[in-house]
Symmetry: C2
Subunit: 232 residues, 2 copies
């Protein structure tokens, strides 16, 4: 089915969205050709509003006439539709563990990192501690939990949880510089640190993640905007 052709699969996304990167990476890993449509979130296209009327957000995958929103929902759809090069194990327990940590990434890790980016001073220090508490749980899972001894969460190859946790984790480096706060200490989180470096060095990942200087420039101007907004 990978040869269905570029016209049949469209992805609406934005270049700064790690949720978009997740879908781009999964499509690349599976070798599914697709047309990428860059959205301007300050001026959303009528097609984006049509295909994701509930959230009006990227990413949206259009497969023929079928529109699917929410990145993790899209990733599972891709794995169930293009069965070659699976990104999920067929074992129900491993699937459950992976889904549990995917939720954790979206509900705990992502928001915690976002807070570091938005805050300053003592409030930021507290937010850094919350990120570290969150990363400690991931570190434990990698070093002594279900994923112990694996190169990636998916095993020898990148899987769903690598995609979800990895696309977004590169913001950690960017945020460290912009917010001047150390988040991923290699001594504190040796397995997470080496996993993330390993993930980022994969060819398909390098093709997806925007260059660090572009991300930095974007993050700096965004942080300035946020800080100006909340000035007393």
């Amino acid at each position: 089915m990978a040869s269905e052709g570029v016209k049949n699969v469209k992805l609406f996304g934005t270049w700064t969205s790690s949720y978009t990167h997740r879908v781009q990476l999964a499509l690349k890993l599976k070798g599914v050709e697709f047309e990428y449509v860059e959205e301007d979130l300050s001026n959303k296209s009528p097609l984006l509003l049509k295909y994701n009327p509930v959230y009006k957000k990227v990413p949206v995958l259009l497969h023929g006439e079928r529109a699917i929103a929410e990145s993790i929902v899209i990733l599972e759809y891709l794995d169930e539709t293009w069965k070659e090069k699976p990104i999920m194990s067929q074992d129900p327990y491993e699937r459950a563990i992976v889904r549990f940590w995917c939720r954790f990434a979206d509900e705990k890790l992502g928001p915690a990192v976002g807070e570091v980016f938005r805050l300053t001073g003592e409030e930021q220090k507290a937010a850094v501690d919350r990120v570290r508490d969150t990363l400690k749980l991931v570190e434990a899972e990698l070093s002594d939990g279900f994923f112990k001894g694996r190169r990636f969460f998916g095993g020898d190859e990148i899987g769903l949880l690598d995609i979800v946790m990895g696309c977004g984790s590169y913001w950690l480096w960017v945020f460290e510089e912009v917010a001047e706060a150390k988040l991923v200490d290699s001594e504190m989180f040796p397995r997470f640190h080496s996993w993330l470096r390993d993930f980022e060095e994969q060819n398909q990942v390098e093709e997806i993640i925007p260059a660090t200087d572009r991300l930095l420039e974007y993050a700096k101007s965004l942080r300035q905007m946020i800080l100006n907004q909340y000035k007393p």
Copy 2:
């Protein structure tokens, strides 16, 4: 596999938790025998803390030595492990739509209803409007979207989305009375209203949902506690 026996499957839950009810209902629908362990959330058992160290919350399913947390994760695990009487379609697109609305139920509908319960006066009126805006989207999906013409989201039988949306929706009636705010107007939301009544009348659902007077009593005392806490 339904005959594996009661000792092999344990469910840790609490009687007021709609997330617990989801898992109870799915187990019943699938005919899986299980041992139910009622947790006291003000004094959590060592086993609950052991099996869900990340969130320390119910429900937790224990299948042999395997512990699984997060209700929707558990529901998918059940469906992939006990394949008889499926609660999910095998069609990848339908699965994606169902997963999308499950997230919506947890991220939008649930929190919106919770706000009505916690607030009073003008703030509560605004919260009621937000619940109605949310229900409008569900109503549209039932009356004119993917699920149009179906008795349940799952088709002729209750499926995953019915379980997720239905377990919890009975709080709507309770909250209406306790918070003195009309939420599920049958004229405003005819399909949702009739779907919920139909869902609640199913035998297995009736066996799971606590009696309305017990829920009411619990909700009244909880609301009083919340209102006392926030008194100026």
